[in-house]
């Protein structure tokens, strides 16, 4: 039998690295296994890294981590075919320490982050696929990899193997996800001169901007698009529920091409050159889709446990916090010499009591609500655009008349009632 570890973490993404880092820091003998050539090589995200949760793991990381730009402006665009209603917040307080969040390119950032875990004493093995958990007497005692003599044992296995966690699924922790529980995001990294980016997005050096795109960016399919500024690249992508793509018979890259050519987006990216094309699934089923996340000798963290807040496009921060709490739990279990489900349940309790669980509960119905009632994206966003156009077009009619016209555009009394009901419903879902 090969060497036994205190813990094996499967998957070197934000969740897995956070967990391995804190475990090693706490003195545990931890093995981190990654299937990619290096951490980050297979990881995809639009690119927002949240400062607070990262600092819970590595204080003042922003002084040395490979970050792109601190975000000082967040814009939200409600898009129609040839118009967009945009609101934004720009605050220079976000441009200085301690910052709010940053754009990052994962291939660079994850490598740096994993190095930090290795410096703490974690052992990182790349290019190795974990095929299954080794289960003995109902307890997870290790993992089997695809390499010769590939069994390795530990007191606890932490599954951070991402959205399609086949490992958790094979333990019977969750079923195969349905198309309305996962979103498919495709994105491109577009190379563009640093100065041009700063001019186009009204930024100074070392300032970044994020734009979230709603409505026509996804052709009305439930989902969002995004356009983020990096140092000398832009990240442009769209993510929609898989069920939406199926229903509308649209291929994901067609949707990305559509956004790239959209008149509201095209001017931002003009002259840029595609550098990378990436695609990934995002777990958006929310709280209701979360399966079992703790068992005897095993804990599930990050995307593998469906931890994504689709409404606020948060995921990596939830992943990091879950990794941190899992590490804390394993260290306590190690002290007690007890790795049973009962002991490890500390993780689930802490997770659900904290902001992660609270937010997951708060938005538990959001994805399903917007999927069930497509009119929000299909009808109401165009309606808002028409109203704005009506109100701000100076054509000699009085503002009273304009308001009347807008009200008329909302449809019959019955339709207005439906609209009011939908607004109330949406409010209830996210309140």
């Amino acid at each position: 039998m090969s060497e036994k570890f205190d813990a094996i973490v499967v998957g070197a993404g934000p969740a897995g690295i956070s967990c391995a880092h804190d475990l090693a820091k706490g003195g545990a003998n931890v093995l981190l296994i990654e299937r990619g050539e290096y951490p980050g090589s297979k990881n995809v995200m639009g690119g927002v890294l949240y400062r607070k949760m990262m600092e819970d793991i590595i204080p003042e990381f922003y002084k040395e981590a490979p970050l792109e730009r601190p975000i000082v402006e967040q814009r939200f665009m409600m898009m129609e075919k040839e118009s967009a209603l945009t609101f934004s917040y720009k605050g220079l307080e976000w441009g200085k320490e301690p910052y709010n969040n940053f754009t990052v390119l994962r291939a660079k950032f994850d490598q740096w982050f994993a190095d930090k875990a290795v410096q703490q004493g974690a052992i990182l093995i790349n290019e190795t696929v974990v095929l299954e958990c080794i289960v003995e007497d109902g307890k997870v005692v290790g993992v089997r990899t695809d390499r010769p003599d590939g069994e390795v044992y530990a007191d606890v296995v932490v599954l951070a193997d991402g959205v399609n966690s086949l490992l958790a699924q094979s333990l019977g922790f969750h079923k195969e996800y349905k198309p309305n529980e996962v979103a498919l995001a495709t994105m491109e990294v577009l190379k563009l001169d640093k100065k041009v980016i700063e001019d186009r997005f009204n930024l100074e050096e070392n300032q970044g901007c994020t734009i979230e795109l709603f409505g026509d960016a996804t052709k009305g399919i439930v989902g969002t698009g995004f356009l983020y500024t990096n140092k000398d690249t832009l990240s442009l992508g769209v993510g929609t529920l898989l069920s939406g793509l199926i229903k509308h018979k649209i291929k994901p890259y067609e949707l990305l091409e559509y956004v790239k050519n959209h008149p509201m987006i095209r001017p931002y990216i003009q002259g840029s050159e595609p550098q990378e094309y990436l695609a990934h699934l995002i777990p958006e089923g929310g709280y209701n889709s979360m399966g079992k996340i703790v068992g005897d000798g095993v804990i599930v963290i990050g995307d593998a446990s469906q931890l994504v807040n689709a409404i606020h496009r948060e995921g990596s921060n939830l992943a990091m916090t879950s990794g941190r709490l899992a590490a804390e739990t394993v260290l306590l279990a190690k002290e007690a010499g007890d790795f049973s489900e009962r002991r490890l349940d500390h993780y689930r309790v802490k997770l659900l009591d904290g902001f992660v669980g609270q937010d997951m509960k708060k938005y538990k119905d959001s994805t399903h609500h917007f999927e069930k009632f497509p009119q929000y994206f299909e009808q109401y966003i165009p309606m808002i655009n028409r109203a704005a156009s009506q109100m701000f077009t100076v054509d000699g009619s009085s503002k009273w008349e304009k308001q009347k016209k807008i009200m008329k555009d909302l449809g019959s009394t019955k339709e207005k009632m439906k609209l009011a009901r939908d607004i109330y419903r949406a409010w209830k879902v996210v309140k």
């Binding site: 090969s2 990182l124 093995i125 695809d146 390499r147 010769p148 390795v152």
Partner: protein, 275 residues
């Protein structure tokens, strides 16, 4: 017990690398650094010989500190020890200066565990010269055997090795005294998917790192840029040849077409008599 040293190099992945069109030099930032593919076969062969006869496989490389990664790759393949010589004074070395520095490292390794066999890859994919191996052999005054595609026997007791050297039209069976140096072809073996215990060992392994001062009897003038008489006058990306005709059809038809073209342009093939 046999002591086999494999000489390796960390190179930019030339499948990916871009050339800087202005300076005509390789833009090394555009490509990840990898273990020179020929060297992986050298290490694998060393590991196979060790597994057959017992002994130790050491790998040695000269390079910047990140070359530790290439050494770890060799540990994954099955090497026992790794030595990195790294120093600013090594920088800018051509094949002459490189073989000098690596020889000094091998001499030092030999002091604690005498070396019986040195194995190099045929050449590096970024330099394509294949000169460092023979250069080391010359400096150590041992026989160099190039283009090796099979190791038949290594007999430490009686002090000989028998190998096959590959030629275009066959191979040569050569017996050499030990110690000797082999530079090996890619066809010599296949590097298998490394075992999990080897991966673990590599992840934890910390190679021996030496600077110039750790080596003995070094003539500083023969190191790095100073010790490199090679002058690269120009590097450029060859332009893709244009034109040409692609012959189609089955083999017989293609041969017929080719023949008629050759006959048509036979003046190209006549030898001009010198007057």
């Amino acid at each position: 017990m046999l002591h086999i040293v494999a000489c390796i190099k960390q190179v930019p992945d030339t499948k990916i690398i871009k050339m800087n069109p202005k300076t005509n030099t390789m833009d090394r930032r555009t490509a990840p650094a990898i273990l020179n593919p020929y060297d992986a076969h050298a290490v694998e062969e060393a590991v196979r010989i060790r597994n057959r006869y017992g002994g130790t496989v050491s790998v040695v490389t000269m390079g910047p500190p990140p070359a530790v990664k290439a050494i770890k790759k060799c540990i994954e393949i099955g090497a026992d020890e790794g030595y990195l010589i790294t120093d600013r004074r090594f920088a800018g070395a051509d094949t002459l200066a490189t073989s000098y520095a690596v020889t000094k490292a091998i001499e030092k390794i030999s002091k604690t565990n005498p070396v019986d066999l040195i194995i190099c890859g045929k050449m590096s994919i970024d330099g394509d010269t294949g000169q460092v191996g023979p250069g080391i052999a010359r400096r150590l005054d041992i026989p160099p055997l190039t283009s090796v595609n099979k190791v038949v026997e290594v007999n430490q007791e009686q002090g000989y090795a028998i190998v096959h050297r590959k030629f275009e039209d066959g191979h040569e069976v050569v017996q050499s005294t030990l110690p000797c140096l082999l530079s090996v072809e890619k066809t010599i073996n296949e590097v298998p998917y490394s075992s999990f215990p080897n991966m673990l060992k590599a992840a934890k392994y910390e190679p021996h790192i030496w600077s110039v001062d750790d080596l003995e009897n070094v003539d500083i003038k023969q190191l790095g840029l100073k010790g490199s008489p090679t002058i690269v006058s120009k590097v450029w990306t060859p332009s893709k040849p244009e034109g040409g005709t692609l012959l189609e059809g089955d083999a017989k038809e293609q041969v017929e077409q080719l023949l008629s073209i050759i006959l048509e342009k036979k003046e190209l093939f006549t030898v001009k008599e010198e007057s």
